[in-house]
Amino acid sequence: MKSFQYIFPKELQAVPKLLAEYGEKCLLYAGGTDALARMKDGINSPELVINLKKIKELGVVKANRKRVEIGAAVRLADLPTDVRVRKFPGLIEAIESVGTIQLRNMGTIGGNLNQRPRCWYFKSSRFPCLRKGGESCFAIYGENKYHCILGGYPCYIVHPSDIAPMLIALDAEVEILGTKKSRWIKVEDFYVLPSQDPLHETVLQRDELVTRILVPQKAGLLKSHYVKFRERDSFDFAMVSVAVAGQLNDAVLTDMRIVLGGVAPKPWRARKAEQVLEGQRMSEDLLLQAATEELAAAEPLEQNEYKVILARNLMKRAIQQWADAR
């Protein structure tokens, strides 16, 4: 790790200015669970590290009639007990599935949404991979068991967040602050595929940061559920995960939103599956049909064909559990 300057601004407005000035040479730091590891691994060698924890408005949860607003630097461990957040059971499940208790004690929700990929070719400084500005993706002919089956090319990462898929299912937005303006954008539109930008996972501009996560109160009227499958329960990222939100009345499915984690470089909105399900009566065949149609476009790599089967089975299971929940 190289020497760096470490600052704790108190004013939010100061941050976009610093970002604009330093660009890639600075790093935002909140919980540090991802950022510090990247610094130690030599993936980021910032000159300036900006700790966000002293900025008050980033650390609070607020609610009004229209939405619940979660500051980007609120710790994950603090959210499951918050009554305003508890209205979204699927969101609680997603938050509680993140990493380990230790990681949730340090990690923040903004950090979770902005975490970089876990792809080992990206995370190891030994590989000059495409996402780090190199020439090619090492996963294509390499060890690609954990890589994506949808939305790949020219880079085959999966987005590691558990919370983003659920936020998309709840139709949440993020507030983004830049030097000139702040803007709101759907979480769904926050992420980009490598074909649009192989170097970044989000639409954030050089001077921008996420300041708040905005969950619409009306999402509290939906049933929601998050299922995460991991190889090792003690600590693992999702091999595949499924976020489900929607309504179930007399076994009829409406307002269905299904988002997959672990299968694509961004949280994958399963729109085809949603269309198959919408307005239909629940049945195992219907669920399998929806999953199969969604995954018809999957292009597995040499070692991850299993993910197609896993995603199909997990979609079915997640919706069944979602339906069975009170």
Binding site: M1, K2, R118, W120, Y121, S124, R126, F127, F138, Y141, G142, E143, K145, F229, E231, R232, D233, S234, F235, D236, M239, Q303, N304, E305, Y306, K307, I309, L310, N313, L314, K316, R317
Partner: protein, 702 residues
């Protein structure tokens, strides 16, 4: 000298004794090598090859040496590097980060050479050479046979042939390799995380060309080794040299990536087995062709045919070299590989014969201990009532496996017992506690022999200046250490007895000792231990004694059973229960012995279901060189453990380190096959393999 009393007559041996250093450890007061600190101490780092194979043309350390805070540099440790992580140069600086920065300033000119990291590819004549100048990447065939294999197969009514593949497992001790070197004049003091203080001393003496009596190695507490820490290793010499150059203490700790790349591993194993039997289950023939790789090291052979009796068999094996870190001994080298393949194919044979796998083993295992252990284990897991229950998408299955090991004592082990005038006692022996509780059994055996309280004994271990004991490996520690300690304690006790006799003016055989009291035959008065020790008048008794026959033995048998639950929609295998039935002669400490078996089973679960050293075929780099991606199981992956010791205390002490690390992989793989109806022949059994196997089986049926 006297043998062991029967367990019911003993107070500490054969009982549950909590660790004498437990409080020290959990409170953080126990000083591990990583905790050793000296003022002005420097921190060293090793520059490692980024290439799997290259010639080191030149190493320019000028800029590193010029960096403020850098105090010592060692350039060009090798002319050729043969794996990613191979050592190239080293520096010592005032902080670890400064040392790392200095490494980045070392300019190395490499001539990059072709490499190979896949065993199957490395065996080809056309493959790149792992070592420049060597003709091939394979060792010679090692062949062995007995009986007439062709006739054996001709006699067989059922013949099964299968190929099995075992992954590379890495030791991953929690405490990484590391040492602190400190020179005082021409004497070297080294704190090292080693499994053998004496071996490290003698090896370093050779390497540094200095006399053994000027080297002192300390391993007071240690966070595991599993076979990867038989010193000295190259980092020891590097650290000693840097400390000599800098003339201050130097600490060199390996990080987790270095640990995974360059400190050893269990070799891969590819075994093609053909097995023949009569319809009644009598085995007639066994044939094995195997290869495997310990990277740039060897030792991938397996002891076969494993355990079961075959009148006719032939085996041939050859080691394959690839551009990866060298293998090191790892818990029962070769045995887990042999046992997994053998127990897997035994179950396949049982299925083909329509026989219960347990009956097939009872029929063909000639070891009388295991015969009884099978019955106990089967009862504990509920074998006869097992049924393949299915709740929703979760199916259960049962499997078993077996193993054997030696685990005898080293004859030249010595211990010294000191009795002081105040009545206190210490035991000195140059063994080391690698985490298994050796310090506790040293104290327990002495307390037992001297009939004192455990707290009266100070066990002193982990120093090369103490009497010789073997490296802690191969399950030799307990059967080496306990006889030496017992005999030294007995000798010291007899010495004290003779002093009492002399003081009391009686013949030696008139004095007897029991329960801290010396009594004289024909006299009413008693002399307490404390009073007797006061006769020493400020001096002490110091008795050295060597290991002796009759207190330990050799050869163990064990079996394990597993119950698993497989989620057929996700491919996830969850262990429900593991049963171990194991003999190890006289169990010295039932608590730490159980710990030993539990720990072995945890390692087996990792080997069977999670751990896998990967190598990127295009670059030769290990992509999962961290504990996020090199997956070892955690608390949530643990099943119920049920451990039974098969009592054979009359045989004396036998080592327990390796035996329980052998049978589990076969048991788990067999349980998975029992659950899903398809056999996974390649470890680790991860969800992707299970899902694809189930899918393939469905397609086959459709």
């Amino acid at each position: 000298m006297a043998g062991w009393k029967s367990p019911e007559q003993m107070t500490y041996v054969g009982k549950e004794v909590t660790r004498v250093d437990g409080a020290e450890k959990v409170s953080g007061r126990a000083k591990y090598t990583h905790d050793v600190y000296f003022p002005r101490m420097l921190y060293a780092r090793i520059l490692r090859s980024p290439h799997p194979h290259a010639q080191v043309i030149s190493v320019d350390t000028t800029r590193a040496e010029a960096l403020t805070g850098v105090k010592a540099v060692l350039g060009k440790l090798r002319d050729e590097v043969n794996y990613v992580g191979d050592e190239v140069a080293a520096v010592a600086a005032v902080t670890e980060f400064k040392a790392a920065e200095a490494l980045s300033l070392i300019k190395v000119e490499y001539k990059v050479l072709p490499f190979v990291v896949r065993e199957s590819e490395a065996m080809r004549d056309s493959a790149a050479r792992v070592f420049s100048g060597r003709e091939k990447n394979v060792g010679d065939w090692e062949e062995e046979h007995e009986g007439d294999v062709e006739r054996g197969f001709a006699e067989a009514e059922v013949i099964i042939e299968r190929t099995f593949h075992m992954n590379v497992q890495v030791h991953t001790p929690f405490e990484t390799h590391g040492c602190v070197a400190k020179w005082e004049g021409d004497e070297l003091y080294m704190w090292d995380s080693t499994q053998g203080v004496h071996g490290t001393r003698s090896g370093l003496a050779q390497h540094l060309q200095m006399p053994e009596n000027k080297i002192h190695i300390y391993t007071h507490h240690m966070g595991g080794g599993f076979g990867s820490k038989f010193g000295p290793k190259s980092y020891n010499a590097v650290c000693a040299q840097l400390a000599r150059i800098a003339n201050v203490p130097v600490k060199l700790l390996l990080d987790r990536e270095e640990e995974l790349l360059a400190t050893g591993n269990r070799p891969s194993s590819f075994q093609t087995i053909k097995i023949g039997a009569r319809k009644d289950g009598t085995l007639t023939a066994f044939q094995l062709e195997s290869y495997g790789s310990g990277g740039v090291g060897g030792g991938a052979g397996v002891p076969a045919p494993y355990i079961y009796y075959f009148p006719n068999w032939s085996v041939r094996h050859r080691d394959v070299y690839i551009n990866a870190g060298a293998a090191a001994p790892m818990r029962a080298p070769g045995h887990p590989q042999a046992a997994f393949a053998m127990d897997s194919i035994m179950d396949e044979l049982a299925a083909a014969l329509g026989m219960d796998p347990l009956d097939l083993r009872l029929k063909n295992d000639r070891n009388s201990t295991r015969q009884q252990e099978y019955v106990i284990g089967a009862e504990k897991i509920g074998w006869t009532n097992r049924h393949k229950s299915r709740v929703g998408h979760k199916v259960r299955g049962f499997g078993m496996g077996a193993g054997q090991w030696g685990g005898g004592g080293e004859r030249s082990t010595k211990a010294m017992v000191n009795i002081y005038a105040d009545g206190s006692v210490d035991v000195r022996i140059g063994t080391q506690d690698i985490g298994v509780g050796t310090r506790t059994i040293v104290a327990a055996v002495a307390a037992e022999e001297l009939e004192l309280d455990l707290a009266d004994i100070k066990p002193k271990i982990g120093e090369s200046d103490f009497p010789w004991a073997p490296a802690s490996g191969g399950s030799v520690t307990a059967p080496s250490v306990t006889p030496a300690v017992k005999r030294a304690a007995e000798k010291a006790k007899n010495k004290l007895k003779s002093i009492v006799a002399e003081k009391m003016g009686v013949a030696e055989d008139a004095v007897s000792y029991a329960g801290k009291i010396f009594s004289i035959s024909g006299r009413a008065e008693n002399i307490s231990w404390q009073e007797a020790c006061r006769f020493l008048e400020g001096s002490s008794i110091s008795e050295l004694e060597t290991w002796g026959e009759g207190l330990s033995s050799w050869g163990t048998a064990g079996t394990q059973f597993a119950e698993v639950e497989v989620d057929i929609e996700t491919g996830r295998v969850r262990l429900v229960k593991m049963v171990a039935v194991q003999d190890c002669g006289l169990v010295v400490n039932t608590l730490t012995a159980r710990n030993q078996v539990n720990g072995a089973m945890i390692g087996e679960i990792g080997y069977a279901l999670y751990e896998n050293r990967l190598l990127d075929v295009e670059t030769g780099i290990m992509p999962n060189a961290d504990l996020e991606n090199y997956k070892i199981p955690g608390a949530l992956e643990m099943p119920d453990f049920d451990v039974t010791f098969f009592d054979q205390h009359e045989r004396g002490v036998i080592g327990l380190g390796e035996p329980p690390a052998i049978p589990g992989m076969g048991a788990i793989a067999n349980a998975v096959a029992d659950a899903i109806g398809v056999r996974i022949t390649e470890l680790p059994i991860t969800p992707d393999k299970v899902l694809m196997a189930i899918e393939k089986a469905k397609e086959g049926k459709a």
